[in-house]
């Protein structure tokens, strides 16, 4: 069965520091992978997606993610975090007719 693991429940980084959020997936075929961001009480906003091709994908708000098939990973990165990046981040894999989400990582930004 398809699954997504986000090992870190909470991460705290200082404003201006770099960020990496981890995501590991389990899926038999070539995966479609996504990162979404959710602010408190809000819906999900698509940050970036990987379907095929270049394994380093760029998204909105300065985020990027790298697909590593050998590690079944799709980690999200940002070189310099802003206070407005504080939110919950979800990794997801497309499976059949649905998206399968991880449990999320809550990002806190300290000034």
């Amino acid at each position: 069965a398809q699954s997504v693991t986000q090992p870190d429940i909470h991460i705290t980084v200082s404003e201006g520091a770099s960020l990496e959020l981890r995501c590991n997936y389990s899926y038999g075929a070539t995966p479609y992978l996504f990162w979404y961001v959710q602010s408190p009480g809000q819906g999900l906003q698509l940050l970036l997606k990987y379907f095929s091709g270049d394994t380093l994908v760029q998204g909105i708000k300065g985020f990027e993610a790298e697909f590593k098939r050998s590690q079944s990973s799709f980690n999200l990165r940002k070189p310099s975090v802003h206070w407005s990046d504080a939110a919950e981040y979800f990794c997801a894999v497309g499976a059949g007719d649905k998206l399968v989400f991880g449990a999320g990582t809550i990002l806190r930004v300290k000034s």
Binding site: V4, Y32, F34, Y36, G41, Q42, G43, L44, Q45, L46, K49, F51, F90, A92, G94, G96, D97, K98, L99, V100, F101, G102, A103, G104
Partner: protein
């Protein structure tokens, strides 16, 4: 362009009651999916509809049902509400060209007391 819209924003129901949630997809999108997000968890897939037909169903009881209308809007119905149905219900739409690329609405917060 308008994004995915959902109504109502919030509602409070009593155990045993029935509720209907509504969703309008992005213009041009013919697929609508419903997800349930319980506090502290990631969204869980409930249904997907494409061209008014059910394309997929998650592991939810028969108390949950949905339909899609000719204008591609959708309703999610939940009967015999339980306390555990309290959650944020998210609707997402996608186009035929990229069915996995789902765009989400703001959600409906359902509280069952």
């Amino acid at each position: 362009d308008a994004g995915v819209t959902q109504s109502p924003t919030h509602l409070i129901k009593t155990r045993g009651q029935q509720v209907t949630l509504r969703c309008s997809p992005i213009s041009g999108h013919k697929s609508v999916s419903w997800y349930q997000q319980v506090l502290g968890q990631g969204p869980q897939f409930i249904f997907q509809y494409y061209e008014k037909e059910e394309r997929g169903r998650g592991n939810f009881p028969d108390r949950f049902s949905a339909r899609q209308f000719p204008n591609y809007s959708s309703e999610l119905n939940v009967n015999a509400l339980l306390l555990g149905d309290s959650a944020l219900y998210l609707c997402a739409s996608s186009g035929r060209e990229a069915p996995y690329e789902q765009y989400f609405g703001p959600g409906t917060r359902l509280t069952v007391t």
